[in-house]
């Protein structure tokens, strides 16, 4: 079952990941850790379950190549900030969730954070063909039942109105 596949675990276990088109596994693990604080996998699926990191990898390999430098520079700066805030820590992924949140709150105005937020949201809610929103977990989380065809009533209030006029 794919739900058992936790990308964070997979990324930790792999020293390198040939499946990625552009990211290397250690970088992917760090970006994934950030994405997973932006859209946490809590009582409902989040960035990890949706495979957001795969969306980001494909975007950076493809149409968003011009964002690579922002990722490289941004991650370097974020690592410096992490080392300053949490001396002795090894990586973003290795921080506790509380520490990750502290680090990201301290840097949430940066272009890098805003770009990872942007990509994470796209990866969570895009058409699955982009590599994210696996099994449509993002859409299901919103309550969106994806179909090419719907019939009225569409929602609660129009259903009530129809019932009232019958």
């Amino acid at each position: 079952m794919l739900a058992a596949a936790c990308w964070a675990e997979v990324l930790r276990a792999q020293s390198q990941s040939p499946q990625f088109a552009w990211l290397d596994a250690p970088t992917a693990a760090e970006i994934n850790a950030i994405a997973c604080r932006i859209i946490p996998d809590d009582e409902t699926p989040g960035a990890d379950r949706a495979g957001v990191i795969w969306f980001i990898d494909r975007a950076l390999a493809g149409y968003d190549q011009d964002k690579r430098e922002l990722y490289q520079r941004g991650l370097r700066d974020l690592q410096a900030k992490r080392a300053a805030m949490f001396p002795g820590s090894a990586s973003i992924a290795a921080l506790s969730k509380d520490q990750q949140d502290q680090l990201l709150h301290a840097t949430e105005k940066t272009d890098f954070f805003q770009m990872v937020r942007y990509h994470s949201i796209l990866g969570f809610l895009c058409q699955p063909m982009y590599g994210g929103n696996r099994d449509q977990v993002g859409w299901k989380f919103l309550g969106l039942e994806y179909s090419m065809r719907y019939e009225p009533p569409f929602g609660y209030y129009d259903a009530q109105a129809r019932a009232g006029t019958k």
């Binding site: 989040g46 796209l122 309550g143 719907y150 569409f154």
Partner: protein, 550 residues
């Protein structure tokens, strides 16, 4: 059956732009027996090419003008240095904006055509009467509705002008947003009505009815149920065997002969090769921003300041797509992601009321047109967190429980608001980039503020649990997808570019038909008026051609 014409062989008409107006011109002229070449800068996408891809279509702008290849510069007043910054958006595809528009299909009101006479001058603006009346245009509004296929309920809007025929199709099924809006508006003594939309509620003329898939605004319809010119009229034009649609054709100049008459259009084909298509007459339907740009680029000895620009009016009086958007959260799911965007509208605040102390007003509609990622990115309450667990919980709770009210507000014509050619920046074809100068008149801003209170009142009366205005709703606009007013229609050549029949004052065989000829912009939703003008112009052209004038 698609015709193929040799560029050196003069056709009767070259139509520049295959959009809302260009598609209508193509059909009307070719079915009348004329030979027509339509030059469209975008590709020819068909139903099978349309998708539900939010990333590709809306977030990455897959169907609209590419700001990298076609940059525009922007400044708010002529004293400033214009900088590269997107200010103008339009759909690059056969069918143009009618392919991806929301499909609101409103007639202008009778008073829209003579506001200057009724209201008097507005300081700082150039408010003028149209040279035609609602009654002149009414038969063509009706023709547009019946030719294209429009769903609505005649007589349901008490502020509408008289109609010679009802809508051909009944209204679309009401959505939850429409029910809440209608109930609340009636409670407040207002007059909501079923939205007239260019979407088929039932099969029509061999086209299938809407399946409520929810990807109307910004997308092309995969069912052909949206009454775009692509779905509704271009097939009939092609079928005549007298109309050739040439996609990927980027026009750079309208050529003029020694006698002052236009002789055709020069364009780049998809390989960048320059081609001169000869024609006996030219109809420019390139939209309210590209039409003036093309005229300004079409300099000649006879027209050193640009074609049809002997009085310097081309490009001036640009009007933008003003509006404010209030969002609200409700207890129960509305599921607004299903079906068309708008099912209820009201025009109670449309008319300009001098007692309010400013010119203008708005049409209001009930809608929630945020796609999932767009809502998560920046649609939520600005006071709520923007990421993390609490944000995510709110997102999940809100998305299906949201609706909004859009106020489509007035935009005054101001002479210095304009499209001109940039001195430095070029597009990917080496042509001068479009320079946009735009600043809202202060009355436009007052209208937004006035309407925001009305939007709030209705949402509160509907029982909303939380209401907020989207950012920028009170600021006016600096980016527009409705592009209007830049080649004004009028009787006086000193203050207008085209006459009452959309014929250029300066050039007898040149017609301009799109948003550029609009004298005022109503309360936005200009597409039906643009298309009615196209049907009317086509009638005039046929008569002029029969008289041997073209």
């Amino acid at each position: 059956m698609s015709a193929t014409f040799r560029p050196s062989d003069p056709v009767d008409f070259v139509v520049v732009g295959a959009g809302a107006a260009g598609g209508v011109m193509a059909k009307e002229l070719s079915t009348a027996g004329f030979r027509v070449v339509v030059l469209e800068q975008g590709p020819w996408r068909h139903e099978k090419d349309f998708t539900h891809d939010e990333v590709g279509v809306t977030l990455r702008g897959g169907m609209v003008n590419d700001q990298k290849k076609q940059p525009n510069t922007f400044r708010s007043t002529p004293n400033e240095k214009a900088v590269i910054r997107p200010a103008v958006g339009y759909c690059r595809t056969v069918g143009g904006g009618s392919v991806h528009f929301t499909a609101n299909f409103w007639r202008f009101h009778p008073e829209d055509f003579h506001e200057r006479s009724t209201l008097g001058p507005v300081p700082g603006a150039d408010l003028a009467d149209w040279p035609i009346t609602y009654d002149d245009l009414e038969p063509y509004y009706t023709k547009a509705e019946w030719d294209l296929g429009v769903s609505g309920l005649a007589g349901s809007n008490p502020f509408d002008g008289p109609r010679s025929k009802p809508y051909p199709l009944p209204p679309m099924p009401v959505k939850s947003s429409g029910v809440l809006f209608e109930t609340a508006a009636k409670k407040l003594g207002l007059h909501p009505f079923p939205a007239p939309v260019a979407v088929l509620s039932q099969p029509y003329k061999g086209r299938a009815a809407c399946t409520h898939c929810g990807f109307c605004e910004a997308f092309g319809c995969e069912m052909g149920a949206k009454s775009s010119s692509l779905a509704a009229v271009i097939p009939a034009a092609v079928k005549t065997g007298k109309c050739e649609i040439r996609p990927d054709s980027y026009v750079r100049k309208i050529e003029v002969g020694k006698d002052g008459r236009v002789t055709g259009a020069i364009y780049f084909d998809s390989s960048g090769k320059e081609i001169f298509q000869r024609a006996k007459a030219v109809v420019v339907c390139a939209n309210g921003a590209e039409t003036p740009r093309l005229l300004l680029m079409s300099k000649s000895n006879l027209f050193p300041h640009g074609l049809a620009n002997s009085h310097g009016n081309v490009g001036t009086r640009l009007m933008f797509d003003n509006g404010g958007y209030a969002l609200a959260y409700f207890d129960h799911p509305l599921n607004e992601y299903k079906s068309i965007v708008v099912t209820r509208v009201l025009h109670d605040f449309y008319r300009s009321d001098p007692q309010r102390g400013f010119y203008g007003g708005a049409g209001l509609d009930a809608r929630f047109d945020f796609l999932p990622a767009a809502f998560a990115l920046d649609g939520m309450d600005p006071d709520s967190p923007q990421w993390g667990s609490e944000w995510k919980r709110t997102l999940g709770q809100y998305y299906t429980h949201m609706m909004g009210i859009m106020a489509h507000t007035s935009c005054l014509a101001v002479e210095q608001n304009s499209i001109s050619l940039d001195d430095e920046v070029k597009d990917a074809w080496g042509l001068p980039a479009m320079r946009v100068t735009f600043k809202n008149h202060s009355d436009d801003i007052k209208a937004l503020h006035f309407m925001a209170d009305r939007q709030h009142e209705i949402l509160a009366a509907a029982g909303a649990k939380k209401i907020w205005l989207t950012p920028g709703s009170l600021d006016g606009v600096t980016y527009s997808v409705h592009l209007m007013g830049t080649c004004r229609m009028g009787n006086d050549p000193a203050t207008s570019v085209v006459d009452r029949n959309n014929r250029a004052h300066d050039v007898p065989n040149l017609y301009l038909v799109d948003g550029s000829s609009l004298v005022t912009c109503g309360r936005q939703q200009p597409t039906e008026t643009i298309q009615a003008l196209a049907y009317r112009t086509a009638d005039h052209i046929q008569r002029a051609a029969r008289r041997g004038e073209l």
